[in-house]
């Protein structure tokens, strides 16, 4: 579905991504892992068109979208949910969701999708007339995912949906990501919660300093000693030792 070929990108003259190759097949979930500041969000921005490519190409369903504006890529069904979890605080929950369906002309389908989003995240229905600035962190995360869904995506890119959330909420959100994938939306999810992400996804990429360091089936990655050392943090005893030193 998505093919990233030798992508170089960054901000101004500052190059962050140095030759990324990546492939997200139709259906299923792929995860992109990596530490802080390694270029995960930058890669998503390059794919969705928020920053221009310096080199390389991005293909979506076989179409070269490298030179398209973000709204044009989005209209092809490539939808990104940004990391900062920005809802529009001065708009109500429902206005945010309606904005997600901004490009759609099919009233019936839009209505049905709104129902579907409320079904995935019942708390949003309860809060639908509330300004989204008053939502909790977990609720905002559900709202931005819901807003992405309202765009009727073929592929949804999520940037750290678990960041700064309690384990129980993370579980709920990941369960819903799984349901969304089951409903036929291809998913690329950026995560720092490596264990959860590798359980959720079928395939994983690990990025470091703007290059893909490692990739493979999620099951293989999770048991890979190198991944264990650098991401899963070893045993509790190791962590506690590291903390006290």
């Amino acid at each position: 579905m998505l093919e990233v070929k030798d992508v170089h990108a960054g901000y101004g003259n500052l190059k962050i991504l140095r030759g990324i190759n990546m492939n997200v097949p139709t259906g299923g979930i792929v995860t992109l892992l990596g530490g802080n500041g390694t270029g995960k969000s930058t890669l998503l921005k390059a794919i969705s068109g928020l920053i221009p490519l310096m080199q390389g190409d991005v293909f979506f369903n076989g179409v070269n979208i490298s030179n398209m504006k973000p709204h044009q890529r989005m209209r092809l069904g490539l939808v990104q949910v940004t990391q900062a979890k920005e809802a529009y605080p001065a708009m109500t929950v429902e206005e945010n969701l309606v904005l997600g369906a901004y490009t759609r002309r099919d009233r019936e389908g839009t209505k049905a999708d709104l129902e579907k989003v409320y079904e995935f995240f019942p708390v949003l229905r309860e809060r639908r007339k509330q300004l989204s600035g008053t939502l909790s962190g977990g609720e905002v995360q559900m709202l931005v995912i819901g807003r992405g869904l309202m765009a009727a995506p073929k592929m949804l890119m999520l940037d750290e949906p678990s960041a700064a959330l309690a384990p129980k909420v993370v579980l709920e959100i990941f369960a819903n990501i799984n349901r969304i994938a089951k409903s036929g939306v291809t998913i690329l999810v950026v995560e720092q919660n490596v264990r959860m992400a590798l359980i959720l996804a079928q395939y994983g990429y690990i990025i470091r300093d703007g290059v893909i360091m490692m990739q493979g089936e999620a099951d293989n990655l999770i048991s890979d000693p190198a991944v264990k050392d650098s991401f899963l943090g070893g045993s509790v005893a190791d962590t506690s030792k590291a903390l006290r030193n």
Partner: protein, 303 residues
């Protein structure tokens, strides 16, 4: 002068009417500010061009006043969109607000202001022209106590309210209005939701300049139309925007009305020859005691 309640009322009524016009110009400045993070210093010239377009349409072409009003709004909107597209776009794309490009944008706005004034001298000449509009079909309002409100003021009040209601409806109840608000808050997210952001920015600019033109055509029949009229209007609209809270749309209107009333009362009871100072007096008072303005948003939440 003995205190006379009726004349006080009259000053307030005139203050409100002229104030709404300041408010309409301030509304445009606020729209551009919240949409693009830039303070548009050439907005007074949009008002001036609007007044001239209205004048040319009404006198030279000979269309009725309401048609001239709408025509001037459309022409000025197109002028504003062209200016934005050709001159501002590069700078705004590099980021407005507190960035270096934002500074460049301010200077560019000043330059545009001077350029437009000179263009206006070339096209319209230096003469101040009276705007004779046939407003016989508008009733002249008479308030108790023999306060006579001339047609042009009545018309101004009606049209201003219509424009504001229209803008409110557009922003709150239409899908495009929703997109405009989305762009004003966060361009990246609006882009990701499939909003054609550059188009919306054009629209914001066109709207704001159209509003300024309406103000020009409305003020025209009260005062005369001349090339330098933009500066003072810009300053008063700024005062209105700051008093109401920069970037706030209701604030722009309330600020405008306050500036209008303050100015009229000052002229009436303190000194008429310093009429233009009172707006800035109010501005300074507000900045001293409530710098964010009456409806101020403390800081724009941005990412």
């Amino acid at each position: 002068m003995a205190f006379d309640f009726n004349s006080l009322l009259a000053f307030i009524i005139f203050g409100v009417t002229i104030g709404v016009v300041y408010g309409i110009v301030a509304l445009g400045i606020s729209l551009i500010y919240s949409g693009l993070d830039i303070v548009h210093f050439a907005h007074g010239e949009m008002y001036m061009f609007g007044a001239f377009f209205g004048l040319v349409l009404a006198h030279n072409v000979g269309v009725p006043y309401p048609v001239a009003l709408v025509g001037a709004m459309i022409l000025t909107a197109l002028l504003g969109m062209a200016v934005e597209r050709v001159f501002y776009r590069r700078l705004t794309r590099a980021g407005g607000g507190y960035t270096v490009a934002g500074m460049g944008m301010i200077i560019c706005g000043f330059g545009m202001s001077v350029a437009l004034v000179n263009a206006a001298y070339f096209f319209f000449g230096a003469e101040a022209e009276p705007f004779r509009a046939n407003l016989d079909y508008i009733p002249r309002l008479t308030f108790p106590g023999d306060i006579n409100v001339p047609e042009s003021y009545v018309l101004t009040a009606i049209i201003s309210v219509l424009l504001m209601a229209g803008l409110h409806y557009f922003l709150r109840h239409t899908k495009t209005g929703l997109a405009v608000r989305a762009v004003a808050h966060n361009k990246d997210i609006a882009y990701l939701m499939g909003v054609n952001v550059p188009l919306m920015i054009s629209l914001i600019f066109g709207l704001a300049c159209g509003l300024a033109a309406a103000a020009g055509v409305l003020i025209g029949p009260m005062q005369s139309v001349q090339v330098e009229m933009g500066y003072l209007m810009l300053m008063k609209a700024f005062a209105a925007a700051v008093v109401g809270g920069f970037g706030s749309l209701p604030g722009a209107i309330v600020g405008g009305i306050m500036v209008g009333i303050f100015e009229n009362l000052g002229a009436a009871y303190i000194s008429a020859s310093h009429k233009d100072i009172y707006a800035f007096l109010l501005l300074i008072l507000v900045l001293m005691f409530k710098p964010s303005g009456l409806f101020g948003v403390e800081a724009k939440v941005k990412a």
